[in-house]
Symmetry: C2
Subunit: 275 residues, 2 copies
């Protein structure tokens, strides 16, 4: 069986931790993977812990006990977060995105692996101290950001459907009222998707009236699941009285001027909570 | 400005390459990031290239010229691929997944960041020699695998919708016939989602009759896009004469026995192309 040198093991550990943040890896796992003694792995981890901390990537923690092991908890500096948010504002505010009717074409950004994973890093970093069992979203545009957030948090994703499908098995459904259009819509989720008593983080791309988010919260109540947070990428300044009060947003869409061809969007300022 | 030591830069490079495989990073980018001379970065890259190669993670390539830089091209060994495929077969064949009517609940696996990113690694490794501009899928269940594949290939994802949405701008739509149920369905994609003349990889979760895949190929023809591959996670042994002939599948579903509570699923054997 192949033996590895220390710098090789350290390089491999950096890759493995990066690929699965917030996952507890046992010392046995690394010991078998590298064909090395646990004491050797412990020394490697000390080096990686220092590296990760010096580089500002977050922290490596050791968890004692039978279910113990090593976990990489990423963090984003305020400076990095601000940089990503400005980059997103720049991307979303391109006037070519304006669609007749004052809508904005955003799908390419939400579907981009690059943007969705960066958005997910910001969202996940807000909840790193909370215990979360699932990320929950509703089809379709929010799925990439929600999946990447679930990846950051190392938890499963549950996707609520607009209609019941035979491949979902038995489902729970609710009707809800759209916050902006006042139309009655329905959403449905497989009973297998979320275990009773779970803690969930609700993630979506866009919030206008808040009806969809409220629908998701109501549906989670049917699963006896506790919603520990609601996080959206963009919320509108319009419809200030949203149906959901307690939520996080990364950006605030202030308005679209079809005549002047201008989109006004800015990072949400936590100091000045006026949306 | 902070200066980093060699082992710190090597660790950071491992993380950066892992987070964005198949992306060309310029030497300037690393030079500014680490506040180090390009000659220093070149030496770092030599070390990382050796590490990546020794560990069997793939290869690091240097691209000359104005648009040049450094790129990490991951690879999966046959052994790793076989291991991941057995793990997937085991997950999919759990008899608790059987739904009345002979269907299988698979959504949790497709929505899992862990499984979808491993599936994506296998799919992407099959196309690493091809030039691909977009990954294309159709909502909803295939989105996570398609997104993770797009992430591996560092290209955008385009998601075909079942219905036209106002936030998609002008769209192209087609009708198609489901290969298994013979029902007429429609699919629609924003004209902004795929540029004319692009090369696309079609990715989906499941293929039965092949009608949906054929629909996606037909829709891509409307965009004057070239389909360089069709890749599904599971195809059925039933409906042997699929509407699409040229496709890759990771697994073959041989059948579901509701009485015996058994799901027969196996890796697709490229030596024995009989599905």
């Amino acid at each position: 069986m192949k033996k590895y040198k220390r710098n090789q093991r350290v390089g491999a550990l950096m890759k493995i931790f990066t690929e699965r943040p917030n996952h507890v890896f046992s010392y046995n796992y690394f010991s078998e993977l590298f064909n090395a003694a646990k004491s050797t792995i412990s020394e490697d981890i000390v080096i990686v812990r220092e590296l990760v901390s010096d580089l500002g990537f977050g922290r490596i923690e050791t968890i004692a006990g039978a279910a113990g092991g090593v976990i990489y908890i990423p963090s984003l500096s305020e400076q990095d977060t601000a940089g990503l948010l400005s980059e997103l504002c720049l991307a979303f505010s391109n006037p070519n995105r304006i669609i007749p009717g004052g809508y904005i074409y955003m799908t390419d950004i939400f579907n981009s692996p690059y943007y969705s994973s960066n958005i997910a890093k910001i969202i996940a970093s807000k909840y790193s101290s909370k215990e979360i069992d699932y990320v929950v979203t509703v089809e379709t545009k929010g799925i990439p950001v929600a999946l990447m957030t679930a990846r950051e948090l190392d938890v499963p994703l549950a996707v609520i459907r607009r209609n019941s499908k035979v491949t979902e098995g038995s489902t729970l459904s609710i009707n809800y009222v759209s916050g902006s259009t006042r139309k009655i819509e329905s959403m449905t989720l497989s009973r297998r998707a979320v275990k009773e008593g779970s803690k969930v983080l609700v993630v979506d791309d866009f919030m206008k009236g808040g009806g969809t988010a409220k629908g998701m919260i109501d549906l989670m109540a049917e699963f006896n699941a506790e919603v520990v947070g609601v996080s959206v990428v963009i919320s509108t300044a319009e419809h200030k009285d949203k149906l959901v009060k307690d939520y996080n947003t990364l950006l605030v869409l202030e308005g679209v001027d079809e005549i002047e061809k201008a989109i006004k969007i800015r990072p949400y300022d936590q100091e000045n909570t006026d949306i």
